[in-house]
Symmetry: C2
DNA sequence: ATTAGCACTCTCAATGGGAGAGTGCTAATC
DNA sequence: GATTAGCACTCTCCCATTGAGAGTGCTAAT
């Protein structure tokens, strides 16, 4: 790629972004020249700033203000200037330590990851619990509750649990239910929703089992779709401290966005295929509602089986380096957790 | 109780609160006298207002402003003035309709209740999923995953599901696991965490089962404590529109409160014993952080077995009548849902 | 007991001006 | 040719001032 910025312009842009991210106020030429990194006068810096503005990397809110980065500027920063920072050792250790305490509980691990991420980046964090793209039936159980009601409990291969209540016309005793469940488990084992739905059943099958089949298909289907209900959202209160949300309109916009499901889910495709951390800045978003915020997110989990999404949402003025390294570190960590649980060749138990 | 307010004062206080709740601006004597309910002059109203202020039911933000209710005023309103409104039929029907679509899924029902409540009262709503105060083991399952890893799935009598991953030194085949699980289910059935922990086990029990027992005790114990992770919080963005949160400090305070677990959980005891809807207003709260907001909440569920808490949180300027009737209606509805699922004599299945 | 009238107080919005910030340009310097 | 000092210029932001308006409490009349 032909790089249209010279060394000085790059240095100025980098310093400007770092300073603006830190202070949230337009950065003046004096402030940049004052630092030790740039051994030139404010006037020289001003020339560079004028160049950068002409090229669209920075903008000036008004005549007598300093400059602030444009979305294009941030993009350049992320692409060429920030490098690939990693989280400081000390922080890594703290995180590891906290994770050790919940190591084998997926729910808690995702929750913890969300809250850690929010605190690390001082922005809102969102984590979806991991789920299979195409869950398979591992096991189901029929438990008699009272009278004609039976609870159907489903365990998927990825460890997901769901249940459904079934009501029958006649009462069943647990004995009979267990027999039916045993047969069903034999027949339905390891099938996906689609496979199970398409399965040809012998005509002499117990009617109960036919009914159970239908329910299982429904439950497996529901596991397939990305459920947003259990999404972990953390650090909303961090956002409030950001100066860009001083005006309540923007804050409201943001909260609406975080409360609504659709927009968050629309981010999922962005990381579906690719590996690594994705950064989406301001007007790069397809949705209008997100035009003035940025998102840093990554997929985590075992490729193709169980996986989820972890990310940071905040104003475009965001510590991208820190965000990227935090997201990367935590997504790797979650992947490890999942690997420990579901990893290695999943045994196809008889 | 000797009622220290006369008829006119009561009428004035009621009107004032209704108006203030609606408009969020201090209410002047003229505004009250203008309405059709009070057939007196502003001057007369002013006298009543002066009385009410002296008695502490209302306060004046500054000399040339109208009056606003004090916490004591709200309390009086809730106790004596607002009556027992019920939700309009039309709204009841809309709610019923929406509930019909998720009738038998507890998770979704609680989530739906939270979001409906938030919208009904235009404030933040919080709903804890139902859980047993003392859960009993209904059934557990041991599922081989890979190599030495085994997933322990627990179903409690109230339908709650949990799981835990166990790692053993030696590999087990599913056959062996099932045998052990069957024996365990026979022995441990219907026990609480405490009972299971205290259970005397014969010395010839498989060591695996001893290990499982320990895990089961842990899992049951965790079900017992009110988990806040899965708490449904809805309507945060509703709060932003409230004028009292125009200053970001107060909004931040509120968000902190809603994000933190401890304070929300501290409300649970308030409804633990009692039945019916509880209202806690401003400085009636024990926690400083909640001094300028009000809470309307109720227990729902089957007494003594599965139950949860549903409530509204907002500024003290809150439509108490509507809040109380909404909370009552939704808590009854949730109770019905639970009753349908777990209700009637739970069968002690063999 | 109620009410009209009125003086009084306090807030709130608008106004205007001045200080300060930061720039772009020009001419001088290295 | 790149850098820099100097300076005029522009625009925002803060502050003090001011006046209108809102709402009251009090007093005297009904």
């Amino acid at each position: 790629m032909v790089d249209e910025l010279n060394e000085r312009q790059r240095a100025v842009l980098r310093l400007l972004i770092e300073q603006y991210v830190a202070t949230a106020r337009p950065v003046a030429s004096d402030a940049l020249a004052a630092g030790p990194q740039l051994q030139v006068s404010p006037a020289t810096v001003r020339n560079a700033l004028a160049d950068l503005e002409r090229a669209g990397y920075i903008v000036q809110p008004h005549t007598s203000a300093g400059r602030i980065p444009s979305d294009k500027g941030y993009r350049y920063f992320v692409e060429h200037l920030m490098g690939t920072a990693t989280l400081p050792q000390a922080e890594q250790r703290t995180i590891d330590h906290q994770f050790h305490q919940v190591e084998l509980d997926v729910e808690e691990a995702t929750h913890l990851a969300a809250s850690l991420l929010a605190r690390l980046v001082r922005n809102a964090a969102v984590v979806t619990p991991p789920h299979s793209t195409v869950p398979r039936l591992k096991h189901f159980q029929l438990l008699g509750l009272a009278e004609t009601r039976v609870m159907l409990v489903l365990v998927a291969q990825d460890g997901a649990l769901t249940q459904q209540l079934l009501t029958f016309d006649e009462a069943w005793d647990q004995e009979g239910l267990s027999v039916v469940a045993a047969e069903g488990n034999r027949r339905f084992h390891n099938l996906t929703a689609a496979e199970l739905g398409a399965l040809e059943l012998p005509t002499d099958l117990p009617p109960l089992l036919v009914r159970v089949r239908t329910s299982l298909v429904g439950l497996l289907g529901r596991l397939e779709e990305p459920t947003v209900a259990r999404l972990y959202r953390e650090g909303l209160s961090q956002l409030i401290d950001q100066p860009e949300f001083r005006e309540t309109d923007r804050l409201k916009q943001m909260l609406d966005l975080l409360e609504g499901d659709t927009i968050l889910l629309s981010l999922v495709p962005a990381v579906q295929g690719r590996d690594g951390v994705q950064v989406i800045i301001g007007d790069e978003h397809s949705s209008d509602q997100m035009r003035n915020c940025s998102v840093v997110l990554a997929r985590y989990g075992l490729s193709d089986t169980v996986n989820g999404v972890i990310g940071v949402i905040g104003p475009t003025r965001m510590p991208y380096g820190r965000a990227v390294s935090s997201v990367r570190y935590l997504s790797d960590l979650l992947t490890n957790v999942l690997d420990q649980i579901y990893g290695v060749s999943p045994r196809t138990d008889a």
